[in-house]
Symmetry: D2
């Protein structure tokens, strides 16, 4: 933390700030300059609330210097986190993973069809929502536990690991009984009760970035899960909200590249929600891989025009296969193989 004093701050103002720093148990380091004085805060191990200084007499600004997160940081753990799933597939290693499947589990026929062609095309995880967070209370909300059972059956038949979303603590416990990876959605990125719950459940977690969350907030949300005892967290960039509604969201490829320099956690990208339009999913998915993502999660549906939710962004089966082969091509030029089922 650096406290920047106003041009006209008095020595008493400077002393007042130093006293507050000392009272907090840290050490003040005043740094008088030609135009103004700045005061460093030394000795703090964790973050300090900048608000403690903002209103003091003579204070112009309080600037955080240390990153507020810790366990997720590459500064503190240099070795990259690699998460091994039940089917042996690893996330965060050299090999890239592709997770495919429908937005929602709708029926046995639908999910088995999806699992079959996802596995055949080289996918290693099956996605599919059983509990759906819907903006409108009148929209389809998912099949619930019946959907989880269908996912588990698909896993049994096709060997794919399964990933599905939990919306609340009770749901998370249920999801943990069935799924290989618990997904926390963008709307719940700062649902701290849920984060602490999945931190205790001992299942790998995929944490989606909130649609207007900074990278720092995203990493701090992951820190909640690690701090509750679960080191198996992967991040998922799914597009941020912008001023332009031409696409549903904006895939923040710079955030993917930057996150890889800040944290040891794997970073997955979701081009389906980032674009909201089927014809953009493949180019934007490839762009995420080129930016350094460790994998993709992609919506695909056997018959998108009959989908109960988000059909417009679901790839057709042959489009999914086409994506897989292009991902493999791009990955190859980056020296990374594609993860495969054993």
């Amino acid at each position: 933390m650096l406290i920047v004093m106003h041009h006209s701050a008095t020595p008493a103002d400077v002393q007042g700030v130093c006293d507050v720093i000392t009272a907090l148990g840290f050490e003040p380091r005043p740094m008088p300059g030609e135009q103004r004085t700045a005061i460093g805060v030394v000795g703090n191990d964790g973050p300090i609330d900048r608000a403690r200084f903002h209103g003091l007499p003579g204070v112009l600004d309080a600037i955080p210097v240390s990153a507020p997160y810790k366990q997720v940081s590459l500064e503190w753990q240099a070795e990259r986190t690699v998460i091994t799933l039940g089917n042996g597939v690893q996330i965060g290693g050299e090999a890239l993973v592709v997770m495919g499947g429908p937005c929602s589990v709708e029926s046995e026929e639908q999910i088995m069809a999806a699992a079959a062609y996802v596995a055949r095309a080289g996918g290693t995880l099956l996605r599919g929502g059983a509990f759906k967070p819907r903006t409108s209370p009148y929209a389809f909300q998912g099949l619930g536990e019946a959907g989880l059972k269908l996912m588990a059956e698909a896993r049994r038949r096709y060997g794919l690991a399964i990933i599905t979303e939990a919306l609340d603590p009770q749901g998370a416990e249920l999801v943990a009984e069935y799924a290989d990876v618990i997904q926390i959605g963008a709307r719940n990125m700062q649902n701290y009760t849920l984060l602490k719950t999945v931190g205790r459940l001992g299942r790998p977690v995929m944490l989606k970035r909130g649609m207007a969350a900074t990278i720092k907030e995203w990493l701090l949300a992951a820190e909640y899960v690690l701090d509750a005892g679960n080191p198996d967290v992967m991040l998922c960039e799914r597009g941020i909200r912008s001023f332009d509604d031409a696409t549903r969201n904006v895939m923040d490829v710079g955030a993917i590249a930057l996150a890889k320099t800040l944290t040891h956690l794997p970073v997955i990208a979701d081009p389906s929600h980032a674009t909201g339009r089927r014809e953009l999913v493949t180019p934007v998915g490839l762009s995420a891989i080129a930016a350094g993502a460790d994998g993709l999660i992609v919506e695909t549906h056997p018959e998108p025009t009959k989908a109960l939710s988000d059909g417009a962004q679901a790839l057709l089966p042959d489009q999914f296969a086409g994506l897989m082969s292009k991902v493999e091509g791009i990955a190859g030029t980056l020296g990374r193989p594609l993860a495969r089922l054993g």
Copy 2:
């Protein structure tokens, strides 16, 4: 819903879209133009997922026409919602309410001191967090139920109604035992399990707008609460996130004015979180009143520099009194009195 066809769409494409509309149980109304055909969807009572059309051959765009919310809409209920609290104060009527108090309940001494001067200055509700959603897992998380008991005691002594935040379903049930109004924070605006829970608890709810939520999404979130059986919902604009970090958020006064034309629910404004800086709270609070807000929720602390959270945005006691008198002045020119304790 209006389906806009591509310039080069064929008659078969148009027919295909009409068939999907018919299959969904609605009536298609093709509208051929000079440049392209558009197809209206008639007969839908609720929203249709535009995604159902986005990927069909020849479709350029699918544009929602009806508002997707209903029970919250001023189109469907012309009479404004007025919420009567335990201490007789009404929210949403002619009189404006001001809720004041600290970010967090920290001690008996602190909350009683705050309640005393908030009541004396003309406030009618006491705010104070017992469960705090904190971006970092290492920040102060609140006193929990002990904080609720202190709030209830302050109510007993000073006659103020009390408002406090619930973070999850269990917490909401606890909060409902103590508080007059349950606050849902911005980070939880789309925590649907929580919304459904407070929809069943029979306590008035204040729903903060998510930091990147559209007005439509905010109203749909409120619709969840009404749809679960609770009509006593007030909205709270607390600033949206922008590209400029000069202030913590941007108070969207246009959203306040617009919401008053779209919904019968009361609209409260939170200038403390909208600005994050004490010196801006009063002018921005007044601006929200001028834009048509039904009240304010304001952070104030007996000794802000000792606050455990958000001290920089807390008004000093005499600043809070100054705000009250200015609010009364502005309200007067708009023909609105200030709500008072009985």
Copy 3:
């Protein structure tokens, strides 16, 4: 400038940064901490490009400390700028000004009608575009010099000062011959050639904030005009672009309040462009006054449904009169009168 070193930076890295600072003519002040070292830069009178440090070995971040603007700053000039126009009206003093008129000058009949009722209702400046920046090349682009002549004739008849926009250097010279205030539009906020030109023309300038400009960039743009020799600059907040298209833009009332604490220049607000909807102009205009704006610029048209541009946001004549009387009320409670024609 504060240079924050990486946790693992070596003493040689720190020395390297110090050497660069010295080479730039400044003085390095290393500040070793428990976790990392930070290095202050002392002696810089103006801004330093943080980019000079970002790529050096061991550097984590470079944080600007001083504000990069100077002549516009309240830190450096404590006395507020008051601009006196040809008709004696002052902007930036105690009295609030209201500028009214159509988006575009369309005809003699239209502009005289507007001027008549604007003056009658208590407005002191007439606005009206002769050169229009239009998003589409196919939209109405304004009457040009003929429009300026009509504005000047309206000034002669009704005593209003006139304000109109210049789009480019040549246009600015022409506008300066006719207008009392030259308006620089949001799209041109960083058109530096234009800023330097109006800096030399000796006419008061109203500088609109760019739709995604930070407050710092806005003040720096004003600094260009002052630095070119023209101290008579007023800022204009006209709404920033957000993720929600429910309103055209978002009036940033916090920026108005904050700007008044950062600069001595007057701050005007434009509720017409901030909202884009007639029914929101009055509440949002009042909110800007409540936040501390020194005046408003408002679109009003004798017959908005016949307007050649932006008719939806133009107040009807009687709505403009209603706005004036409400502005006067709000201003009164803040202790500020309304400027009047002599």
Copy 4:
């Protein structure tokens, strides 16, 4: 244009809207529904100002249906624009181009060194600013015509085509005498006088997207240049402004992919300004290629730590060579070669 009527609109309201449509020379198509009536506008060849309808009695919304741009649209010209430069290099064809060079031309030694290694590494255009738009008036503003002469000399020696920015109409005429491509910067995307000028100059133009410009506005800005007679326009995505300052901007890869479906103009990407950090330039540049960009413009400097502007985002010479070889790899998997000097 579709006019959506309010739920409670009367037949007279509907008729009123139809009359306005007829008066504008178009044909109204009322479409009564269960909940409300919508009215289509048929026969308009260009855009209609939605503002004409927004304030009419009974009107809820006016929704544009046709795209407002035309000459840039792939709907109206199916053949992609390929621009051939003086050195024979083509932009917009199968082959990808890479433009490299420093932010600013600083000296003969610097620009020749840059040109030499850019050409050696496989670049085909040399970038370098002679006129710099700087946020602060106190920052380095470029060498002016002397810089242009140095660029021309570098072209003569190394065979690279040259691209440089014009800030205003006079500057554009000067730039056109020297450069192969005139760059219009993000801040000037809606500087219409400048757009019309470069539309008349007969030189290829690269139009950067404004930092908060929608794709529609960007295409409309390009339409200004085409409409003024210059078909040789390439677009450049350089990152949009977001709420997170962790990177300078956000490369909108979805906009690149979408633009390729909307327009026949080539699309270039600028990963240097999109990220602002050297270590992110390569991954984000590759991501833009994977998303479908026709080329990159990249800042590189022989000695970035001595750069007079933007040094932090400039690649070192060997990093530029590394980028080139990775671009070639990614391009190869997409079936596209790299453009080469003849």
